[in-house]
């Protein structure tokens, strides 16, 4: 099995606010991420696909096709958008790294026809990221 990773960058704004909590609780839990008018990040997304290289082409998958899937599913939805207001898949959720990574996983997994989606890593900043993967396939719990 070979892993292949493609990286893309997008920029978006968000705010952390749970309407079921009081204003004080929101401030206590979310800190400056609760500032009412929101703020933004340059996100970096790393998408890793696992598979065997095709004996004819030497490729696990056609990177051009992956690029198009990422453009359609992620860039068009999230780049230069407000994640709370403009991304229906995130409606009702706090747009944390964890939740965005899971939404991206769910968007990409059914679209990837060559190889298997192995890991989605979303960086909110160089020092904060979330990984999403199927149990037993990545992370420290072993590879298949």
């Amino acid at each position: 099995m070979v892993l292949i990773t493609r990286r893309i960058d997008f920029s978006a704004s968000h705010v952390y606010h749970n309407p079921q909590l009081s204003a004080e609780e929101n401030r206590r839990i979310f800190g400056k991420c609760n500032n009412p008018h929101g703020h933004g990040h340059n996100y970096t997304l790393e998408v890793t696909v696992a598979g065997e290289p095709d004996p004819v082409t030497g490729m696990v998958l056609d990177l051009k096709e992956l690029k198009e899937i990422l453009a359609r599913e992620v860039m068009q939805r999230m780049d230069h958008r407000h994640l709370n207001h403009e991304v229906p898949e995130l409606a009702g959720q706090i747009p944390t790294c964890e939740n965005i990574a899971r939404v991206i996983w769910n968007l990409l997994e059914p679209k990837i026809k060559q190889g298997l989606l192995h890991r989605v890593r979303l960086y909110e900043s160089p020092d904060l990221f979330a990984d999403c993967f199927r149990n037993g396939t990545a992370g420290s719990r072993g590879n298949t």
Binding site: W105, D127, N143
Partner: protein, 160 residues
């Protein structure tokens, strides 16, 4: 492997990077001066040297629907600050950190020591620590069960 969908549960991990700077010298009293110099090379220079270390901490757990978080970053940052950064940042690993008074402060050993300091984080499960000693060298540890290949004992290595 075909393109058959895997139905195993989805796991989310949160990764956070921290930075600290420290000095060390790779040297062990179990070896002669010549052997130390041969084994550790310039890392054995008597007055030591330093690195800007990057510590990457990964934790897992259910994402709280109310907060969207595995763990509140303020809790994780506070725990790492107290358990690790205050102990290691701008210190001499050999002289200021008790465990390295009699253990070589390689980044392998540093990974194990920091994992042990962080494993009792109460808000999420510590998955692994990864340390970049320089941008070109990194080390990972995820507890004893991490080994995917059996670790040979010294006696077994002797037989090879």
């Amino acid at each position: 492997m075909g393109a058959k969908a895997n139905s195993a549960e989805l796991i989310i991990e949160l990764g956070r990077r921290y930075h600290f700077s420290a000095s060390h010298r790779l040297h062990t009293a179990h070896l002669s001066e010549e052997e130390n110099s041969r084994v550790f090379g310039k890392c054995n220079n008597p007055f030591g040297h330093g690195h800007n270390y990057v510590l990457e901490v990964s934790v897992s757990g259910p994402v709280d629907p109310a907060t969207g978080m595995i763990a509140n970053l303020a809790d994780l940052d506070g725990f790492v600050e107290q358990a690790v950064l205050q102990v290691f940042d701008h210190k001499s690993l050999n002289e200021d950190v008790a465990v390295f008074l009699d253990k070589v402060p390689t980044t392998e050993n540093l990974c194990i020591d920091i994992y042990e300091r962080l494993k009792n984080f109460s808000h999420a499960k510590l998955e692994r620590v990864r340390i970049e000693e320089t941008r070109n060298n990194s080390f990972e540890y995820a507890g004893q069960q991490f080994a995917r290949v059996p670790v040979a004992s010294s006696a077994e290595k002797e037989q090879r």
